[in-house]
Assembly symmetry: C2
Homo-oligomer: 199 residues x 2
DNA sequence: TAAAACAAAACGAACGTTCATTCTGTTTGG
DNA sequence: CCAAACAGAATGAACGTTCGTTTTGTTTTA
């Protein structure tokens, strides 16, 4: 048994909590929540069953902790983008670039956030699309319509056009259908997406 | 126990096979594959455990039968579209309209096809994005680029732009984030999507 | 300061339940 | 009469969770 890998995503947490969550993220994305046993996680993370139940309450608690931690991380990224850029165009471009980079650098994180069916194993959490991070992403587009930066149209439709292609590409990249790093395709995507939205 | 509902999707199958698959589709989409037991399916479908194992081999076999049956249905729809329209624009519009209608009329079918993480419970089936139906959808766009109907660009990116927004809308509709019937938003979506692709 | 008392954290064997699958017996169709 | 189809009780492995015990750390007392 080799020592568990430590992800930079959980650096601020106590060592064994971080080990547990890193391992859980890895196993959940590789085998799925229901095919991963708590004993699996304990063994690979080199922590005891008791430790897990002491700190996370139950199996769902592990997933819940992961979910909240990663969504909060997303929110920090969006905070930064919101502070750095003013226009809807710049902001949504920055969002997509950030998501593309994250997909390449931390595919498991991206997979858990965007691709997993949380409702199956976190029935009480909001659907990922309703989570604050995704609502804020959409609101950038809404503001772009109000400020006439984007052509007048249904705001939800506009948001789907802005992010739909990108999210689709992320899914295909995570499924290894796309073999090119996403950042390489970003400009091509962006030019042709925004072409339909300019007033 | 009320009689099981019969979906038109399995009409050509023997009665109890159809009942089994209809019930499985319903329970899989409502509770998820792993939270649905074979006994659940047998009880709701009013068939015996023996019947299920005689006809479907194992639990995965039920999901596999569903998957293949629904993908084949998709292929028939695409056949029809391919025969009825010639241009990439007409064809992909027809695809999206068909998918939107299906989402409203048979949300569970759509959910199972597009939204479920098949790799978790069908590890040997190809990812849904690699399945023939989705490959064919993309090839319509590829042909549109070759015939100069679509501006010159990376074909994969073009396909993501054409279908990405639509698929995103389907996901949000299935998650009840969008409360308007999708066909009502189709034209708005289409005009603004295609605006970025016209040469 | 040393030892005793207490508290919190960690451990992991054992338990009870769930559930996919098997098996044995029965019915049906040719 | 044979084979295929079907029924449903029985099986046993897997797994989430519990809980009595041990270890570690902190506070109190003499």
């Amino acid at each position: 048994m080799t020592a568990p890998v430590q992800s930079v995503f959980f650096n601020e947490l106590p060592l064994r909590n971080a080990q547990t969550l890193t391992t859980a993220l890895h196993l959940f994305t590789a085998k799925g929540f229901f095919k991963t046993s708590v004993h699996d996680i304990a063994e690979h993370a080199q922590v005891s069953i008791g430790f897990i139940y002491h700190h996370f309450k139950d199996k769902e608690g592990i997933a819940r902790a992961l979910y909240n931690h990663l969504l909060e991380h997303m929110n920090v990224l969006i905070d930064h983008i919101e502070a750095s850029f003013q226009t809807a165009k710049e902001r949504s471009y920055a969002i997509i670039r950030t998501l593309f980079d994250l997909t390449e650098k931390e595919p498991e994180v991206m997979q858990f956030i965007i691709h997993a069916r949380h409702k199956e194993f976190l029935p009480n959490e909001k659907s990922i699309c309703s989570a604050s991070a995704f609502v804020r992403m959409r609101s950038f587009v809404f503001q772009g319509i109000e400020s006439k930066e984007i052509r007048e149209m249904d705001p939800l439709v506009a948001a789907m056009i802005v992010y739909g292609g990108a999210i689709r590409m992320i899914c295909l990249r995570l499924d290894n259908v796309i073999e090119v790093p996403l950042p390489d395709m970003l400009d091509d995507l962006w030019v042709n997406t925004w072409g339909g939205l300019d007033p």
